[in-house]
């Protein structure tokens, strides 16, 4: 499978650190049969969406849209800005076709400064992924700023939960792919 990890913030470091932690787990346990890559929006320069076909963008924007469209599994790392996902991540969604995540399994890692926002991924990010036809992993990992120190995640619970999220995501993606492949064989053409 083609696995892509997105760090959806263009500022700060916490989302990037969490996304790289997911990358490390993937590389350690799932690198044999899969292709794994990261898209860190902080390091990429994206245009604003203007509604064109995703193939008609150029440079970083085209690279990012094509990488996501070619993925089988996507991990979305997102901070919480003003009680929602950041504009950088929403723009990423706007750059893609409406059913971009059809047959793709998607999961979420959130970083935030306060526990008061723990339902933002549930109520704001999941509806977008659902609208774009993603097969969404039900649970997600929510990481607070107090879980970090000196550029690493210091809370063991977060490490365990990221391990679990990665495992849950790969299991769901494999099962979903296999079921669809059986279903498509049954169509008789």
């Amino acid at each position: 499978m083609n696995i892509v990890v997105v760090s959806g913030s263009n500022v700060g470091e916490k989302t990037s650190i969490a996304a790289n932690k997911v990358m490390n787990v993937l590389k350690e346990k799932y690198s044999e049969e899969n292709t794994i890559s990261i898209l860190d929006l902080k390091k990429l320069s994206l245009e604003f969406s203007d509604g064109r076909n995703y193939l008609d963008y150029t440079a970083d924007t085209k690279y990012v849209t094509q990488s996501l469209m070619n993925a089988d599994v996507i991990f979305f790392g997102t901070p919480i800005f003003q009680a929602s996902i950041p504009a950088s991540l929403k723009n990423l969604f706007d750059l893609l076709p409406q059913n971009a995540f059809e047959y793709k399994t998607c999961s979420i890692i959130t970083t935030a400064g306060s526990n008061k926002h723990y339902l933002i991924p549930e109520q704001q990010l999941k509806p977008i992924l659902g609208y774009m036809k993603a097969n969404i992993v039900p649970n997600y990992v929510y990481i607070l700023d107090t879980d970090y120190d000196k550029g690493t995640i210091i809370n063991d619970d977060i490490h365990f939960r990221i391990d679990k999220l990665v495992e849950d995501t790969i299991i769901l993606a494999k099962a979903y792919k296999d079921i669809w492949s059986q279903q498509e064989d049954s169509y008789g053409f």
């Binding site: 203007d50 064109r52 995703y54 193939l55 008609d56 047959y103 169509y187 008789g188 053409f189």
Partner: protein, 357 residues
């Protein structure tokens, strides 16, 4: 209200018009992985038009595209070659991207083809689904909507007036400008359609100015595509036009084989792989499988099921013309020939018999 538009002449006593269209895609055949040369592709398009005429089809249409994996950039030149190679079949562009062209030049080209073909030329004008041509031809994508509306309006005015005065934003003004040659008919103009790709607003705009509507479909239930057509007719009626004089054409994927499942097996990889390359997303197999239901707008199957579907769609849409796209995604010439043979022998006689008025 008297409609100033020049409308296509469709003899409904002969039944629903049946045509073919190609977008001029130049893609590998997914069954073999091989792609023919641009020269061979162009020759095969011309050969397809000749075969369509021989089989009794009414229309042959070519779309303009400037993106990778297409050879129809100069679609008017291809139509011009077909005008010379055929005698009876109506010719149409579909769609001409009027937004990124000079309407004066488009009219000059199309009117010349009309003279070459003894009055068989029509134009379907559209906005482009892919937008690489804006950069290529020196236009700003920010003007996507405005360019189309202004240039389409100018194109209609040129069509309806040999000499005109005109001022606009995207082209230098015309002062007592004479646009020639003129088609050799009473109105001295061409039938011009507006291409609608499923947008309600676009269908509404076509109705508001009383131009015929050409609607292209990918997949889904036919009943969904009735809605923009209804809106088109409602808007045209509200704007004072007699909707009985305004034709509607519908177009979409078509592939026939004597065995229904063979048609799906053969055509699906062409559609799926072709769309991946040209549009960035394949056609989901589940959605294509819905094409086996008579209510689907995908006209793929055996001759009997396709006849049933086209008649069902005709009943829903009240369309005057149906245009089949059967060469998409590297369909080899022998399959195109087989399709045209079956259309001529089985499908066309049945469709005409049940739809003539």
């Amino acid at each position: 209200m008297n409609n100033p538009r020049i409308l296509p002449k469709i003899d409904q006593s002969k039944g629903l018009e049946f045509g073919l269209y190609t977008l001029g895609d130049h893609l590998p055949n997914p069954h073999t992985g091989k792609r023919i040369s641009p020269k061979q592709r162009i020759n095969e398009i011309i050969e397809t038009a000749i075969l369509a005429e021989d089989a009794g089809l009414d229309v042959f249409q070519i779309g303009e595209s400037h993106q990778d994996s297409f050879i129809s950039q100069a679609h008017m030149i291809l139509l011009s070659a077909i005008a010379q190679a055929t005698n009876k079949i109506k010719l149409s562009s579909g769609a001409t991207i009027i937004s990124t062209s000079d309407p004066v030049r488009v009219f000059e080209d199309a009117a010349t083809i009309d003279l070459l073909s003894d009055g068989r030329m029509e134009v379907v004008a559209g906005r482009a689904s892919r937008v690489g041509l804006f950069d290529l031809l020196g236009y700003d994508l920010q003007d996507y909507e405005a360019l189309f509306e202004e240039k389409f309006d100018l194109f209609l005015r040129i069509n309806e007036n040999e000499t005109l005065n005109w001022n606009g934003e995207f082209r230098s003004p015309l002062k007592n400008a004479q646009v020639i040659p003129r088609p050799d008919n009473k109105e001295k103009g061409l039938p011009i359609w507006r291409a609608v790709g499923g947008s309600y607003a676009s269908a509404q705009k076509a109705g508001r100015i009383g131009v015929p509507m050409y609607q292209a479909h990918l997949g889904g239930p036919a009943s969904e595509f009735k809605k923009p057509i209804d809106l088109y007719r409602e808007t045209a009626a509200e704007s004072g036009f007699n909707i009985n004089t305004l034709p509607v054409a519908t177009a979409g994927f078509f592939y026939v084989s004597n065995n229904k499942m063979d048609a799906f097996k053969e055509y699906y990889p062409h559609v799926n792989e072709g769309m991946k390359i040209t549009n960035g997303q394949g056609f989901p197999k589940q959605a294509f499988a819905h094409g086996q239901d008579y209510r689907s707008v995908i006209n793929v199957g055996d001759p009997e099921s396709i006849i049933e579907k086209i008649l069902y769609q005709h009943e829903l849409f009240g369309n005057q013309r149906y245009i089949a796209q059967l060469d998409f995604g590297g369909v080899p010439m022998e399959s195109i020939k087989r399709n045209i043979d079956i259309i001529g022998e089985k499908i066309l006689p049945a469709i005409k018999k049940y739809t003539k008025k």
